[in-house]
């Protein structure tokens, strides 16, 4: 697996590549926001249980433990997931590998691509990242998403994926 900083202009070289490492802090930030929202939300739930008569010595440690676990997970998981995610573009298509425990390798041939999107949310923009979305006429993989690419790389891959006019792609 080669590191992403050495990407040449030609992306369809069949080399397996990691995502942009900035995806780790991005996902950590997203995770922090999500766990903060959940923590505040669960305060209300805990208060209701307390009013209903649940003992505080049980509720408080449980709340702390669950939220601590969530925060810890959101900090550790992105790096682990990063090690198991990669993609490869060659002349025939794009191959995306992901999943830590349940591992999936998905291959979409170029000639089956209906259209593509490159999107960039506000947080992604801060980190200079983009998400490539590939649409096919398939059923399970009608929409294949590859998040955590450097925005320019996502655009370059998209250039390669543009549908060829000679066929109907289904």
């Amino acid at each position: 697996v080669s590191e992403p900083d050495r990407i040449p202009d030609r992306v369809n070289d069949g080399v397996e590549r990691r995502l942009d490492p900035r995806v780790i802090p991005l996902q950590q930030l997203t995770g922090q926001i999500a766990s903060a929202v959940i923590a505040f939300g669960s305060i209300a739930g805990t208060l209701i249980l307390w009013v209903e008569g649940a003992p505080l010595w049980l509720l408080l440690p449980l709340w702390l433990f669950l939220n601590g676990l969530l925060t810890w997970h959101s900090q550790r998981w992105p790096a682990i997931a990063y090690r198991h995610s990669s993609y490869r573009v060659d002349d025939a298509g794009i191959e995306i590998s992901e999943g830590v425990y349940w591992r999936t390798v998905t291959n979409v041939p170029f000639i089956r691509v209906q259209h593509t999107d490159v999107s960039q949310g506000p947080l992604e923009r801060r980190f200079g990242l983009g998400t490539l979305v590939i649409y096919t006429a398939g059923t399970d993989h009608a929409k294949v998403t590859l998040a955590g690419l450097e925005h320019g790389t996502a655009l370059r891959i998209r250039e390669h994926l543009l549908p060829r006019e000679t066929s109907d792609a289904v």
Partner: protein, 507 residues
Amino acid sequence: MPFEQRLHPVSLLFALARSLRAFALPGLIVVATRGCSGRSSGPFSAPGGWEFWLMILLIPSIIAALARYLSFRLCYEETELIVRSGIIFRNERHIPYARVQNIEAVQNVAHRALGVTDVRIETGSGSEPEATISVLPFGAFEDMRRRVFAGRTAASAAADVEAIDASAPATRTLLRLSTRELLLCGFLENRGVVVVGAAYGVLWELGLVGWFWNLVGGNNLFDEGPIEQFLKSVAAGRRPAASQILSIIAGIGVLMVLIRLVSMVWALLRLYDFHLTRTGEDLRTRFGLITRIAVTIPQRRIQTVTIRQTPLYKWLGRASVRVETAGGRKGPETSPANERAVIAPVIRTEDVPALMTDLLPGFELANLPWEPIDQRAFRRAIKPRLFVAATITIGLGVPLGWWTLYLLPFTLAWATVAARIFVTHVRWTLTDDVVGIRTGWLWQRLTVARRSRIQAVTKHESPFDRRTGMARVRVDTAGATDFSHRVDVPYLARDTAMQLYARLLRA
């Protein structure tokens, strides 16, 4: 050579009828419930004249229909079909002939009396038809079919002009179902439950359920009828009388026969005069007694073909065959749209190979090299089944009492047998043209997907897969529904899976 086609003038009538129907059904229910519940003083019993208000509501739809009729134009260009509509908000849709997946004509009784038809043009995009045209003269539909598919061949294969003579392609009948076969088909499909359920729903809507039960059971079926007595005696811990048990068994038997009969009548109405023909490279089906449907599926649009057999089908030497195309079909299996994917509702087993060769060029059903899955698959497959069986049996013990634990050996044995049957009957195949899977022993299904139509290939490895060195390979095709039989091969040895995956990508 641009040629313009307009809507048939009676399309105004049909548009009017459609909007009337949209208003009439709620109106009918209002009238019916008022009739049932007597003279209530609810909001719906306001003094007459709702007919008048209904007419006012119709005015916008009349104007819309008129605008549509006046502005609608179908234009056949060299390589594409252009649909123009709208006077104020103009809309122009270009449909390249090469993208048309299939063309359908739907005619109900009124359409047929007037010699017109609804036409649906489907492309690979989404679950909706690309264009729904209501209504065209039937001749114009034939004309469209000819022009679109002739244009398609010209556009896609300009090189081999001699291949298909668009003006006079030979038509060959592949399958024609007699009344006897249709009744058999209804018997085998057993869709009666759906029809009975729908009819019951309508009765419920109209508030006629009580009336219906009075008609059937003479008001005492549930009050002091046999079912009530039976349940009471069981609940009281008494042993029910033999006559009670017999009458209930007889009742269930009669109901099952009735449902089969309904299913047979339903199949006869739905599929009456079923024809499957082949014209050039197009497959055409035509069927229906009340609503007549004509479907055209270009052969090269076929994504997958599924052959299905249940024990009854096997016993009678029959099978059913359906195809999937990319023309979006996302509804449940029983929806009317899905009916149209059935290319042979019932066919003699010995005729299946010939039909398959017509559906997939050069395909020989008998010569497929079927491969088993990994030998260790049974040890993998049995574990989740044992787990589910044990959980359900023990879980049922909570509300029903712990006597259910006596059932545990039986459910576990059943899970073992089911796992054994599953793994010994899964077979996969890969040839130059197709990839396929066959599952089931008594309830058998066989699906082949054209390799040139594969949308995506996936290799899955769960933690259990990795521990045992196995993997699963899934092939994604267009047009499958949630109920489709998919090419999804589990429990492959890792090397075999890698090979299959790599070979599929080399298509």
